[in-house]
């Protein structure tokens, strides 16, 4: 009788397994206009409830016409940007000219997919002007799925910022508005700043400083603004 009673096997839970990824928090966004594009990211780097540093930039110029913003795992983000910078340089030497933004976009997608089975834990946004001079924003998932959009938000406060952009940039749920209308520079900048001040209030991982890059035919212009440090 007793032999018919069997006990369910106890699973061995590994409590000591090393985790290759860390979420360092932070938020980024980009908004495209008719002849410019804005891309912005905060500078706080966190690990759980701790702050690693208040100033670790997340957005970088890959060329005089393209900027990349990265959220997710800072170490992978740094390496990804390094790799992209190297590829941009290589292209420049071979082609004797700077890589166009759509070409950079496709290259980033391929670079990410190359590590499909041990991904970069990064959510990149790429921004620049397309071959017609119009603002272009490209958004990716960690393994390279790419989509060109007008605006996007990524990172720890993306759930707060994206709906705000949908309403203010995409004019979603607004009856008497033209959803295809693009914003002018000043309005886009103000919306970006407001998005971040709002996100800083509610998201503990967003704050300290904000860096806004504006790209137009004259080049890349960077602006640094303070955010709340709590």
């Amino acid at each position: 009788m007793l032999s018919s009673i069997t006990q369910a096997p106890v699973e061995a839970h590994s409590h000591n397994r090393w985790e290759p990824y860390v979420d360092n928090g932070g938020t980024s966004l980009a908004i495209a206009g008719a002849d410019f594009v804005i891309i912005a990211a905060d500078t706080r780097q966190s690990d759980g409830y701790s702050i690693n540093t208040r100033y670790d930039p997340k957005a970088f110029e890959l060329s005089n016409k393209t900027v990349i913003a990265t959220t997710g795992y800072a170490a992978d983000a740094k390496r990804l940007v390094e790799v992209m910078e190297q590829k941009a340089q290589s292209y420049f030497h071979k082609h004797e000219r700077v890589m166009s933004t759509p070409a950079m976009a496709q290259l980033l997608s391929n670079t990410l997919y190359y590590k499909r089975f041990f991904p970069y834990y990064v959510f990149p946004i790429l921004a620049g002007l397309d071959s017609q001079g119009k603002g272009a924003v490209f958004t990716y998932d960690p393994v390279g799925n790419m989509e060109r959009t007008v605006y996007v938000a990524c990172g720890s406060a993306s759930a707060l910022v994206q709906p705000f952009l949908d309403n203010q940039v995409g004019f979603a749920n607004q009856r008497a508005a033209d959803p295809n209308r693009l914003l002018d520079r000043e309005t886009a900048r103000k919306i970006a700043i407001d998005a971040f001040t709002g996100a800083t209030e509610r998201d503990i991982y967003t704050g300290d400083w904000l860096e806004i890059f504006t790209i137009d035919q004259t080049g890349v212009h960077r602006e640094k603004r303070e955010l709340k440090r709590d």
């Binding site: 071979k94 082609h95 000219r97 890589m99 166009s100 759509p102 070409a103 976009a105 496709q106 290259l107 391929n110």
Partner: protein
């Protein structure tokens, strides 16, 4: 250089070079390549002979030498162009494709168990630098040209081009000049069936009405129009 034009003839199976290719680069807005489509017999279905090929939308290619070797290089060139597109979402600039293709041809001069490709290629294309024309030889050397000719009658044709070519000519004039150059060394009657003309540019009857220049072969009807102007 002369050695190569000689060795090309010895590569051909019957010991003769049957094709003459001429090309012109029109500075402003395009490139023209024209070739003779000579066939040994009147029974050959001329319209299915592919002498002038599109490598990608903005690059076309023509050859002098062994047809089968050309086909292999066409496939390689097309694959290279698509690989570039997959990475950069753009057509490769002509000079980049030329370098890769030339590199491949050079490999076959320095590897065991293979022989060099028995073709000289002319690649014509339009990229960020405007209209381009490149010649690639079996050795893997490549040369950029404003206008050139390869094949049986190339010496006379090049002399003819030197006099006729000017950098400011329009695409229409370039087509005209290319056909005239071909006529110089043409044996027999030149009709729209016996020559092929490819252009990269935006001619009025271009299928693609957009701003991007596209490689396309002229239809026999178009060629007939040009021929009638030469008389």
């Amino acid at each position: 250089m002369d050695r190569y034009s000689f060795s090309l003839t010895t590569f051909a199976p019957n010991g003769k070079l049957l094709q003459i290719e001429h090309a012109l680069a029109a500075a402003a807005n395009g490139v023209v390549i024209a070739t003779e489509k000579k066939t040994g017999s009147s029974l050959i279905e001329v319209s299915s002979l592919q002498h002038m090929v599109k490598v990608c939308d903005s690059i076309g290619m023509v050859y002098s030498g062994m047809g089968p070797d050309f086909r292999v290089l066409v496939n390689s060139a097309r694959k290279m162009a698509q690989k570039y597109r997959r990475i950069y979402m753009e057509d490769p600039p002509v000079r980049i494709l030329v370098k890769e293709l030339a590199s491949l041809m050079q490999e076959y001069t320095q590897s065991g168990g293979v022989r060099p490709f028995g073709v000289s290629l002319l690649l014509a294309g339009f990229d960020d630098r405007g209209a381009n024309l490149y010649q690639v030889d079996p050795s893997g050397s490549y040369f950029p040209w404003k206008a050139t000719s390869i094949g049986k009658n190339m010496v006379n044709a090049k002399t003819f081009l030197e006099k006729r070519f000017n950098g400011e000519m329009e695409l229409e004039d370039a087509v005209h000049t290319a056909i005239l150059t071909l006529k110089e060394g043409f044996e027999g009657q030149m009709t729209e069936q016996s020559i092929d003309v490819g252009i990269i540019g935006t001619l009025p009857n271009a299928q693609d009405g957009g701003p991007t220049p596209v490689f396309q072969c002229l239809s026999p009807a178009d060629i007939r129009d040009y021929l009638s102007n030469i008389a």
